[in-house]
């Protein structure tokens, strides 16, 4: 490995599967996806590690598969964070501009940001993200207020926090492979960045990532994430509902869900039946298709209702010009976009990753891992730019800057 090349791993430890992608980061500016590993998840419930050993084994298997696929060793990991324990709140602060000429200085910005983030958390909770919303200078939105003139500077932060021990468990699973965790990124932010364009995020979009055990969502306005959240309901609940409603094993229910599940009831004929296996073997039996669709659509409807309820006043249909984008493994369910559109009253569509992504990785289940790599690339590029900036702001540069 050359000194300017780094191999980063994007790891999503989900409830149903663990996904690992390996990216080759060259010069901190370009990234190539060179390895992929996937393993059925164990020891993870609703996005949180319940059995450390099982979760470690599953994750390490996926990591090993990815490393062997790429033929390199991972230098650091960008880890997706999900789980029902995650929560968020909004806090804002404002300061009077200190300069006599009312020009906003870096000190004013630093002060208002520090105040907006200075919200105490309950014991056992720790911050995962502090997502800044746009600055407001005398009420007008500004991306960067420095050197602008105004009297009152305001900023708000959406703070995502989680339970300390669950976050630590997640990190320790990776550390058990003796690889450092470079960044912890909320699942909804990772996938949201990947399946929406900057224009979508500017116009307003709601990204819903329906995974196996959890559903993550992120609401974007004005180019930044306004609200995020996680609900502990996902695709596995659809399976569970089918299992209970049709008296099936979990495996049989999963099969039926994948083959006949739907986000809306499409079948009008109550007598239409489908075979469980279709091989006419002992134990193979028929089920009414409408019943399957009713069970799955009810749960999907409920998921969207819960998301809408959790969004509360933040959800304003008029401000969601780009509508709703669905991603995650469960978003492959037929009719799910229509269900979302009905629940939220805005347009909904399935998320698509950019065209430059390889065909094999275009499945919605990979959007989070791809988003993690995207974050890795961006943070490296920012570090590179910061390095150049530091060089540019060296002693001699500053000396001659005023000449």
């Amino acid at each position: 490995m050359s000194s300017r090349t780094k191999y980063i791993g994007a790891v999503e430890i989900g409830t149903s599967k663990v996904t690992v992608l390996i990216g080759e980061l060259s010069q901190g500016r370009s990234l190539s996806i060179i390895g992929f590993g996937e393993c059925q998840s164990r020891g993870v419930l609703k996005g949180a590690v319940m059995d450390f050993r099982s979760a470690s084994d599953a994750t390490h298997s996926a990591l090993l598969a990815a490393e062997s696929n790429a033929g390199v060793r991972i230098d650091e990991v960008y880890l997706a964070q999900a789980g029902g324990h995650l929560d968020g709140f909004y806090n804002e602060a404002s300061v009077n501009v200190s300069a006599a000429d009312n020009m906003v200085s870096a000190i004013d910005i630093d002060t208002v940001c520090r105040l907006a983030k200075a919200k105490a958390l309950p014991d056992g909770r720790m911050v995962v993200h502090n997502i800044r919303r746009p600055f407001r200078l005398d009420g007008r939105l500004v991306p960067d207020p420095e050197h602008l003139v105004g009297q009152r500077l305001e900023v708000g932060y959406w703070t995502v926090h989680g339970q300390e021990n669950k976050i630590a468990d997640n990190i320790h699973v990776i550390r058990g492979f003796n690889v450092p965790v470079a960044e912890l990124i909320l699942t909804s932010l990772a996938s949201g960045t990947m399946v929406t364009s900057a224009e979508d995020r500017q116009n307003g979009v709601l990204v819903i990532d329906i995974g196996g055990g959890t559903t993550d969502y992120a609401l974007y306005h004005d180019g930044c994430a306004y609200t995020t959240g996680v609900i502990s309901v996902g695709g596995s609940h659809l399976t569970n509902d089918l299992s209970l409603g049709l008296r099936l094993t979990e495996g049989q229910a999963e099969k039926l869900k994948l083959r006949f599940g739907s986000g809306t009831v499409i079948t009008r004929d109550k007598s239409e039946k489908v075979w469980l296996n279709g091989d006419f073997a002992i134990g193979d039996r028929q089920f009414p298709r409408q019943a399957i669709e009713q069970i799955t659509s009810a749960r999907v409807w409920e998921i969207f209702e819960v998301v809408k309820k959790k969004l509360g006043v933040s959800f304003v249909p008029e401000r969601l010009t780009a509508g709703i984008v669905l991603t995650g493994g469960t978003s492959k369910l037929p009719g799910i976009a229509e269900a979302a559109a009905k629940v939220f009253g805005v347009t909904a569509r399935l998320g698509e990753v950019p065209g430059y992504i390889n065909e094999n990785l275009r499945d919605p289940g990979f959007s989070t891992a791809l988003g993690l790599l995207y974050f890795g690339l961006n943070s490296s590029a920012e570090a590179a730019v910061a390095g150049q900036s530091r060089r540019r702001n060296g002693f001699f540069s500053r000396l001659f800057a005023n000449a």
């Binding site: 602060a93 907006a116 995962v128 690889v179």
Partner: protein, 346 residues
């Protein structure tokens, strides 16, 4: 919101979580990686320590015994001295002068000292010593070529002949053909100075060498009879005075850029003088009489039979250089006029 200073304790973020975990909690692959990382770190540390220790030992040895570093390898003793020279020096003399210790290895030799030893003999202009492993010392020598002789004595020792090279260096000639040495003219009226047991280089030898080489090439018959080249008037007038068997005193002017013309005139004068065998030329002054297109050379002819005492006697030149020989009585010179040079004669 309040703009008061924040008094809350700093909020904890996920980065505050200790990422280090006990090896027991790692998977087998994790432990393998940890072991590999530890081994790598230990190796790097060991390498750094080893390098540091090596530097420390080297510094210590350098301070205590630099020779141990200079000759770190006990090589095979020098068996062969390979001599390459453009002159006449012999290998036996070189070996004798180098005086290499019998058991000295090639790396133990101080080439600078050996070089100085060789250069003490003025006959060597440059010397390059190089080691050719495993056991050969290569000596490449560039020698001086003698252009004249000088007789001098140091202290109470008997007068001795030395050789003078084009650059004025005075040295004892070794291994030269005696016939070659015998054909060289003597230098006369030279002020020689001793410094640290050696003669200092003689000033003006470049001009003398130029004159002698011009004469040797163009008038070899006359040159063979040249006996003494006097530098008595070199510093004051820029004249070189040559005493030969045929003409007792020939004066050359070094300020002239070209000796060729003067040598040519001399040849013509001597040829003219031979037409009067009863009155041979006593002195020829080539330093004056030059004019546009022709030359007037003052020549003093003999009036009486050649006396036995003066020009054949060699001057003893040393710290007490011999005085230029005095003329017994001034004589009126005969002018050889309208001497026109014909280049085709040369």
């Amino acid at each position: 919101m309040s703009t008061h200073a924040n008094t809350n304790p700093p909020t904890r973020t996920w980065r505050d979580i200790q990422q280090s975990i006990a090896p027991k909690a790692m998977s087998s692959e994790g432990r393998k990686r940890l072991l590999a990382g530890t081994v790598k770190t230990v190796c790097v540390l060991f390498g750094v320590c080893l390098a540091g220790w090596g530097v420390y030992e080297a510094v210590l040895t350098w301070e205590k015994n630099p020779m141990a570093i200079k000759s770190p390898v006990k090589s095979v003793p020098v068996k062969t001295v390979n001599l390459r020279t453009d002159g006449v020096l012999e290998k036996a003399w070189v070996t004798r002068t180098l005086a290499l210790p019998k058991s000295a290895g090639l790396m133990e030799l101080d080439l600078q000292v050996l070089k100085t030893r060789l250069l003490e003999s003025g006959q060597i202009r440059t010397v390059v010593l190089s080691r050719k492993f495993p056991d050969t010392l290569v000596v490449q020598i560039e020698e001086r070529t003698p252009v004249a002789r000088v007789r001098a004595q140091i202290g109470a020792a008997l007068p001795k002949d030395y050789l003078v090279a084009r650059d004025g260096v005075v040295y004892e000639g070794l291994s030269y053909d005696p016939a070659l040495i015998g054909s060289l003219p003597y230098l006369g009226d030279v002020g020689m100075k001793l410094s640290r047991g050696r003669f200092q280089p003689i000033e003006g030898m470049d001009k003398v060498a130029e004159l002698l080489s011009t004469a040797h090439v163009n008038i070899p018959a006359l040159y063979r009879n040249w006996q003494i080249v006097s530098l008595a008037r070199y510093e004051s007038d820029g004249f070189i005075i040559v005493r030969s068997k045929e003409v007792k005193e020939i004066t050359f002017d070094t300020r002239e850029s070209d000796f060729f013309k003067q040598v040519a005139l001399l040849d013509m004068v001597v040829a003219e003088a031979h037409l009067q065998p009863d009155r041979p030329a006593r002195s020829v002054n080539l330093a004056i009489g030059e004019s546009q297109g022709c030359a007037q050379v003052p020549v003093v002819l003999e009036t009486a039979p050649e006396s036995t005492n003066s020009p054949n006697k060699l001057p003893a030149t040393n710290a007490r250089p011999a005085a230029p020989s005095a003329h017994s009585a001034p004589q009126r010179p005969v002018l050889f006029t309208n001497l026109r040079l014909n280049p085709r004669e040369f």
